[in-house]
Every structure is written in C-alpha cells, then in structure tokens.
Symmetry: D2
Subunit: 350 residues, 4 copies
C-alpha cells in the first residue's frame, strides 16, 4: 500500500510502498477515504514547536519515532478485521478515534485515553492516515458514520472533539453567559456546539469583524471585537457587572488570558485550550477569594466523539472542507497549510 511518510524531520514526506498490516485479535484495517491535514502534522514534520520562552520543544523528546506516517483525522471503510472483532462488517464507513492510550493508567481506566500517561495516538506515536490503509488497534476506537460525509467527518476527531470537550467542561446553565475567545475554526465549532448542547447566552470575542459576523450567524448572541473594545468591560456590561460564568479561551496566550481571567464571575470557570504559548502572572489569593477554576481541555475522550458524531449527523455543526489533495500531493498540502493558504480545512483523499 502507498503511504506519505516523514522519514526525517524537515525533509519532504516520502510517498512509498509499505507492507499491508494483517489485523489480529480485535485490530481493524481501515481503507482511508479522507485524512484531515492538521497543524500538529506540521509540528511533526518540523520536528517540534515553539514552547514557553521560545524554547523549541522536540517531538522526539516526547517519544515520537521516525519514520512515521502522520494523519490522526481519519475517515474510511473497513477493509479487514481481526478474529475477535464484533459489531462491524467489512465495508462499514467509520471515523477513527486516534487518541489511544496504553490502557491501564488512571485516565485510561475512566475512558479518558486522550490524556494517558503513555499515549499511543494514531498518526503521532503509530502510523496514521496519510496512507491508503491504516491499522487501528481495536474496533472499540471506531465510530460508525453511515451516510455522513467522510471529508466533513475527519476533523471531528481532532478540532471538533477539542471544541466539544471544552464546551462540556464549561457546562453553562440556561441564561448563564459562556464566552468563547477566538473565532477561528475551533471557536466557530464551539459556538455551534454551545448552541446545540446548552441554553446559555453565547458571547464571542475576536479581533476580526468578519469572523465575528460568522459567529453570529452560527448562533452567538453577543459579539465583542477586542481590537476596538475592552472585552472585560464588554462582558461586565452584558452581565450586570458580574462577569461570565465560563470562558473558553481557544487562543490561551499572554494577550488573551488576562482578559479571560478578569471577565470571570465569582465561581467562574476558565477553560484553557490554545497551545500558542506564553505565560500569565496569576494573582494567587483571587483564586480562592473568588472561588475560580482554571482547567485545561486537550482533544477528548472516545465517548464524547460518539456524542459529537451524533450531533453532527443531526446537522447541527458545519465543518468547511475547502481543499482536497491526493496522497501524492501530501507535501503540497502541508506547504499550503504552513503558508496560511488553507481557509477552513484541507483533507487528503488517498
């Protein structure tokens, strides 16, 4: 089978033939229909990313080994199955849950494999979806797609799932105010999900009026341009001076977090998602005095992906696939992403 592989970081992916794995026990071999092209694929390709204080964080220090076939957003059909697989048939259309753990740590025990102490994620720690076929360790990591479009489905496994986890962690009640900071892909997905799973008032903060308008179209009740208005004042104004019950910060950097923190109501919750780096000088006594909570959201668990696919099938979220590449064009896909040419989402159709 053909795969686009990172042989060495910073060098072009090599499109090569690799052996077709034979699924055993409850393993499943999936024929890839669509593999999303994600920013973290770029990090793998470049061998790392800029961490706090500008230090380059090498992915190899976190256990990644090359050669590696990237691609963690995978929709496809079942090609072959191990002898202990049940509930699936050859040809079933499925979305792959890639955030696989080793199985016994406290996170894995409660089904939160995405924050396993020793992750085995597909496309990161084992070969992924930039390939004609991918071996999935168990049928229990598959979500049936039915007729749902595989190109639209792919990114649910990563950015969609992250947005859903964040919205669930924010957990607002009817009439409470949920602020979403950043109206990019994640933020716009979060607006739609917040509308679908809460009855909260949704406020969106960004510096781009076009993105804010799109957020409004998708369900946001209030929009605040933080380039032209003080967003803390903006949120205080619409909450009777009290602040918001929850803020989800999809940027999570030194510029956004001071505002996100200061717009919290007593007992408020700040869900931190973005990985853009930076730090924040946290005023320590304010955390107990105002009974605040700061919590991180990182991808999501399998059970939540099942819920998210169900919501997507109901037509409640739109994911925009703007560009499609063949497997041979994998390097081009990453280049375009790197240079900012991709609006919305790109996928590879092997």
């Amino acid at each position: 089978m053909k795969a686009a592989r990172i042989i060495k970081t910073k060098e072009p992916l090599k499109i090569e033939e690799v052996n077709v794995p034979k699924p055993k026990n409850d393993q499943v071999l999936v024929r890839v229909q669509s593999a999303g092209v994600c920013h973290s694929d770029l990090h793998l390709w470049e061998g790392g990313y800029a961490g706090p204080q500008g230090v380059f964080m090498k992915v190899e220090d976190r256990g990644v080994k090359f050669p590696l076939t990237p691609g963690h957003e995978i929709a496809g059909t079942i090609e072959d199955m191990g002898e202990n697989v049940t509930g699936f048939q050859t040809g079933d259309r499925v979305l792959v849950y890639p955030w696989i753990g080793e199985g016994t740590c406290p996170a894995c025990r409660v089904g939160e494999e995405n924050i396993c102490d020793a992750p085995r994620s597909i496309g990161v720690y084992q070969d992924g979806g930039y390939s004609e076929l991918v071996l999935v360790p168990s049928h229990k990591y598959l979500v049936k797609l039915g007729d749902y479009d595989p190109n639209a489905a792919a990114s649910l496994a990563c950015s969609g799932l992250t947005a859903y986890t964040a919205v669930k962690k924010a957990s607002c009640l009817p009439s409470e105010t949920m602020v979403i900071v950043g109206a990019g892909g994640l933020g716009l997905m979060a607006v739609q999900l917040a509308k679908a799973v809460t009855n909260a008032r949704i406020a969106i903060v960004d510096i781009d009026d076009k993105k804010l308008a799109e957020a409004k179209r998708l369900g946001a009740h209030e929009t605040i341009n933080s380039g032209t208005t003080d967003p803390v004042k903006g949120i205080k104004d619409i909450t009777g001076g009290l602040g918001a019950e929850a803020v989800i910060d999809f940027v999570n950097n030194s510029r956004t977090i001071p505002n996100s923190f200061n717009m919290l109501r007593k007992r408020g919750k700040l869900v931190m998602v973005g990985l853009f780096g930076g730090s924040y000088e946290l005023n320590l006594p304010l955390v107990p005095l105002r009974a605040l909570t700061l919590t991180g959201a990182y991808t999501g668990k399998f059970a939540d992906l099942v819920e998210l696919v169900a919501i997507a099938k109901q037509g409640k979220v739109q994911s925009v696939v703007s560009r499609k590449f063949s497997l041979d064009e994998a390097n081009g896909a990453l280049e375009e992403l790197k240079t900012g040419k991709i609006i919305g989402r790109a996928v590879i159709n092997p």
Copy 2:
C-alpha cells in the same frame, strides 16, 4: 446585652451594652457559649490586609460597615426564636453557619451561600459572636451540637469547614496521592479529614519537622520537609515519577505554588486555599497539554458543615483550643493572636 465591638478600625474594641434583638419570622437568637478568635477578625480590626503587590485591601471597600461586632465562629444555645422556626427548641446547643448570602444569586441557589455575590456573613457584614447574644437570620443556618464541646465546635465553622471543602474538592480515590502543603492548623485538620473521607495516600509538606511529626501522628503517610528537600522531587519519587493526583496548598503564595504546580500528575488538581498573597507565572500551554485544573476553596457551604460536625462527633478530628478569654478580654485576645502568642485556637467565652 454586652458586646465587644469595633467602633473604628485600629482602635480598641469597645465593650458596651447593646439592645437585645427580638427574633422575627424564622430568626433565632443564640446565647454565645464560645466564639473563636480568627485571623480574619484581625483584618477587620485593622481595616484590611495586604493584597497583591503589597496594596492594602480595605474591608470597607468590600462592603464592611462599622461599628461591628466581630466573631464568625459561634457555638451557643438557643435563647429565643421567631414565630416560624420549627425543628428547634429553646436551650438547644447549636453551631452557627456564618457564611450567609443574600439568597438569590447562582451560588445561593445551589446552597453555596459562602460564595454569594452579595454576602451577609455574620461577624463580617452583620453583628457576630463577640457578644452575649447573636441574632441568626434563620434556623436553617444552625447545626445541632448535642453534647459536642462548644469550644471545640466553634472553629469548625471557619477553619474546619475550609479544610473540609478543600479535601472534598481534591477528591482523591483509593491509592491516589493527596499532597497537603502547610502543616498549620488548617493543614493538620485537612490531614485528619483526608484520612476520614478518603483512602488516598496523604503526603504533607512543611518546613517544620515538629509539625510534620504531628501530621504523621494524625494520619499522614508521607512527610516532606521542603526546607531540606526538593518537594517536587520528593513527590515524584513516591509516585513513580508521575506526580500527585491532587495538591491542596494552604499557603498559596509565590514560594509554595511553583512546587505545588510542578508536582501535579497529568489530570492533576491544585486546590488553592491560602490568602497570603503573591503571584505565579503560569505556563499557559501546560494547562491544556497536561489537562490540569486549578481551583480555589473558600470556607464552605452549609451542607458541608453539617457533614463536618457529624465527622467531628465521631471523634475523627481534634481541634486544639489553647486559650480562653472572657468578653472583657476581647482586645487582649486579638493582641495575643496578632503577636503570634496563640498556639492552636483561642476562644472567647462570653
């Protein structure tokens, strides 16, 4: 009735006669047997406390009005009751829940009046227990003490409740590691409560070997002297390099928090309690990448005080009352507390 009142901040409390209030509706008049002398009484007396960046935080800016009878840790007997009180009788021995809210904010609606947006706390925003009698707004703020010692009971309403809230927020499972930072009164109470309500391994961190030994006697499994050992390394060593599932920091200042943060396991929770001020340069991407949670604990809710009194009645926590004062000696009690002469807890017995 006689009361020791703050007429003006920084001036001696005035021991004076005030009118006996007449309880109406569901109000209850309680004859004070024991009123705990707490550090926050000192803050009221001094008119404020040192906040972040050394700024003096005036209590009057937070809504406190003088003259005021301080005292929020109150055990006593029922003297008189309004016409709508049920379930209590004159003479019943009770502990007063002082963290009263205005009743309709989101916190009050779920019984967390202690973090009300517009607090009415007894001994802070209305007259408290440095008095022969205290008017409680409703019988619903009373916990029956039965034969339990009122002097031992008084501090349960404040420091005991804070420690209990923190232990519950840390919520460790059997065999998980709960780290308690600071082996003072709150920390030692937390050790006992952690032992009573979890099956976690309890590790205590302090710089005083005598306090650590006392913590061990009360149930801590591991002790770490952070004056002589790196506490992060200490916790990593006893957790297979992974870190602790929960850390409760009763100091919560610029020196303790860096360690408390760095000793957390993936998915770990940091419960921040202390009000000693200061700040911490939070590394933003680590919060999502490690799925960490930071949360503040401030006193506690009425339902938790009921639980705590039940645990105390079972003999599972010891609170040390070392000094007893009369109402006339109220100024002396505060002076001794201010100059650090009180070991354990002082009470006023009017």
Copy 3:
C-alpha cells in the same frame, strides 16, 4: 384583601376579606396577577384523593389545615417587602416558587426543598394565590419575570417544573432514545424541554393520534399509538432491539408501567411521575441483572425553576392558557376543571 378560601372541604370556596399581612425580615408581599388552577387544588378542595387500592388519602392526614387559600402557581408584582430583602424592588414582576421546606432537613440543605420532610408549600400548607395578595416567606423564592407573560408563567411553577425535573433526571446523551409516555400537558411540555436541553431522539407514546401529532409538531421524532401498536415492540424496533436509555412515565399507573419497564435498555432509567395510583409486580432479579434504575420525580427545586424560566423566556416552550377567571369565579374554575372542560390551562386573574 379579597381571597377565595377553602373553609371546609367539599364546600364552595368562600370569597372573603382577609387582613393584609405585613412582610417582616426577608418576607415579600406579592400582588397576584395570575394564579394557575391545578388538579391538586381540586384534591385540596375535595379533601384528598384516591390512593393505592382505592383508599381515600385525606390531605388533613398529611398536615393540611383549613381554612386555606389554595393556589401554588403564582405570578405577580412585588407590593411590599421586609427590611432584609435585597435585590428586588416594589413593582418587580415575579414568579413564586411555592415548594418551600422548613429549611434544615437533608433535602433542604441541598436546595431540594420540594421534597422536604416537613413541607410548608404555598397554597397547600400556607395561604396561596387565590387572593389579591400573597405573603412569600423570603425573596429567595422569587424568580424575576421581566416582560414574560404572567399567565404563561404561572404553570411553570408546577407542571412545567415537574416536566423539567423529569427530563433532567432522564438525562439522555446525543442519539440516545428518550421515551415520553403520555402526551397531555406534562408530556407535551416535556417534549419541548427534551428538545431544548438534549440532543436525544424523542419518542412519544399515547393513545390519542391528535395529541401525538401535536407532540410531533413540538419536536418528537417518533410517535407510537399504544392503543393500536405494542409500544414495547415499537421502541425495540427503533432501537435495534435494545430498548430506550430513558423512559419518563407521566401516567405511571398499572397499565403504562409494565410497558415502560419492558422497553428499557440495559442500564436504562425509568422516571416515574404520574400520581394516578395502582401498582406493578416488579421482577426483582431483573433490576440488578439489567442494571436498571427506577426513580421518582416530584415538582422540582428552586434552581431548576430559575433555569426553566430562562428557557421559557427564550421562547422554547409554549404553555397554553385557555381560560381566565376572576377571583369571584374561583368555584366555577374548579368545577370546570373537575368536569374536564378545561383544555390546556386555566388561570385566575384576581
């Protein structure tokens, strides 16, 4: 002030002048704009209702005392307030939470006063809304209505709240199946609320095709006429033979419960609401073998009424007020309800 009072059960309500109460402490005097006419008002009037095995359950045995002004669904404006009320002003439009408890029992401690051991409900254990004015024990039992129609609001405090509690107890995830048994007022409210707060598939069971059609219009995905189809088979058919994750039975009698029980999936939850009497021969080992849960829902807590009013203000539920009576016509209102002439809801506008 004028009030319509039950002086003696089974005799006409007496329209009489009673003294205007003077609010003290945190009591609030509310001028009634709309008082819902509920079936349980009939039970009070008749002095009881048919219990299990046809035994007449006397309300006086449950602590009700006459004379009594009935009426527990009350919307109105604030007329006067006690000295300790904050957050409200004279003239504010409010909905009254009537399910008041004595305040200290375990239910009250966690804000579930509706299942207090010693209830003080307005219109049942103390004078209610069939009156020009009603005394509410505390401002904390008031929900602000703003511009929301008081006639539509009134029944939220009883039937609306019961439906909301049931839907929350059923707590279905996206794509799970929630069955609602009974498409009467409660059931139709539940369909709308299930649509507003879940992404579950909603199936409604009734014997009346017109009601089923209305349920479909309001958001039900599947309708089953249990007069013409086996509802257990119907639910099994649409769930791949597995059964429903949750069933809310608003009838809860000997005819509906066998079906409701048998259509549950493993781990399923049966929420029992109706008070129509009867019994069910429960197969005991099936409860553990299938890990089932049966649970009762009875009115709801204050915090949920706040949420419900917020949802109603968003226009997500419709309550149909079909008949309006003056206070002088109170006997006529009860007679019409008794003889089944009221479709939807009747209110009294004093």
Copy 4:
C-alpha cells in the same frame, strides 16, 4: 496445559489437556495461582438457574457455549504477553478483571463493561480460571497485586466488586444511615467497605445472631434481627421515624424487599443486588411522592476493581478463604459448594 472443563451441563467437569494459547497484540497469558469457586460456576455447571415464577433460565439461551473452562475469579502471574503489551513484565502478580465487554456499546464506552450489551466475560463466555493458564484479551484488564495474597484477592473480582459497587451506589454522607440487608459474604464485605469509604451509620439486618455479631465486629453500628424484630420499625426507631437514606439488599427477594422499600426515607435509595428471584408489588405513586430511587448493582467496572484492590492492600477488608482444592479436585469443590459445606470462600490452586 491442564484445565477443568464443562463439556456438557450436569456432567462432571473433565480434567483435560488443552493447547496453550499464544498471546497476540495486547493479549496476556496468565498462570493461575488461585481461582475462586463461585455460585455462578454452579449455575454454568447445571446449565441455568431458577428465574422468576420458577422458570429455569438456561445459560445457553444467554449465549454461553460449551465446552467451557469456568472460573472468573482469577489471581496469578504473567506467563507471556503479546507484542503490544506495555507496563507489565513476565512474572508480575495480577488479578484478572473478568467482566469484559465487546467494547463499543454505551456501557463499554464509559468503562462499565460489566453491563455490556454483548458480554465476553472470562469464565462465562470464554475460557476461565479452572486451568493452569488463562488467556486475557488485553493487559488493560489486569490489576497488579504485588505482595497481596492471591487466594484472598481472587474473590475481590466478583463478590468483593459487587459489594463495592453497591456501597458506592448507596453513596451515604456522614451521619446518614446505610442499611445492609443480609450478613452473608457479600453483606459482611459491604459492612467493611462502607466503613472504609463512608462516615455513615451502618445498620445490618439478618436473621442470624452470629452473623449479626460478626457484622458488628467488622464495623456495623446497629444490628437488627429481622426474625425477631420488625426491621422497618427498627430502622424507623433509630432514625427519628424518618427512615434510612440508603438500603442495600443483598437478598433482593419477595420477603426482604417489602421491608427494604418501606424503611426508606424520602429521597432514599434502594440498591438491589441479590438474584434469588421473586417479585414485589410496587406501589406506583409512592415512588414520585417520596422521590425514591430503586437501582440495580451487578458486579462492577474495572476502575472500581482498581480502587477495591487498593483498599484491600490497606488491610481494610478481610476475605475468608476456608478451603483450597487442586485442579483435579474441581468437581469436588463444586459438589461441596452445592451441598452448602463451604463456609466463606473456596479456591482452586492449579
């Protein structure tokens, strides 16, 4: 390897040589040190059990296939591992979690494989521990035992886990009353676990004074002999007439459940565990009127077994192993269990 297998129901187990399986992917081969002999092994041997209305429930109708090696309580050492196992080494002493599901149903998705819609339990649906070696489908079903006695550990996987699940479902707060009905092996385990994980008052009900005395020794605060006293009156007497917050019925038959139901407090929870058959005429309106919950507990989830082993290692539960058999004596072990000669627990040491 040697195994004791049920070839045909009601015929003696055949001690025979079977092929040693070769572990693949994340499968683990465990050398059995101790296999508990459980009543449900008897049911397999006899081909079924008496269900409701005395109907014989055939295990083959529930998907069991013969020949089968029984034994679901398995402690042993790791003999061999598939290529994808991590975190374990050959020779590690482990307890096997036997309640394995197929992996994708809603129960499996949240880690409750024990109530999977299509179970694959070891010793029931696939070969179990009456054997020198057993193949476990994944390392994720293993709990490390360290030095803990394998004979004492074995029954934790079944009866211990069931008791723990029931105690957690009862979830009593400090000073609440938890009633345990039945002081047999499960009930006595539950008393110890209730003492270890709650601060509730524990009351035990049985008809055998010797068992009640043992329960008292292990931590029960109140004992009620239901052969000589009305247990409903007994519980009402010790709860001020209100009833118990939770009742766990380990018998769960037509004689015990009426009492267990009637001793519940408003909002009370009845946890039903026993599989002794029978039915109960449930008074339907009482469930909502008293806001009661009835819920079944059946074995438990993997995460709870991890917690339970941790508690057992702390010395907080005692399990009595009274008889040890060799693999060749497997038929004798079942015979003795059948004729009631086993007090406590029997194990097979292959």
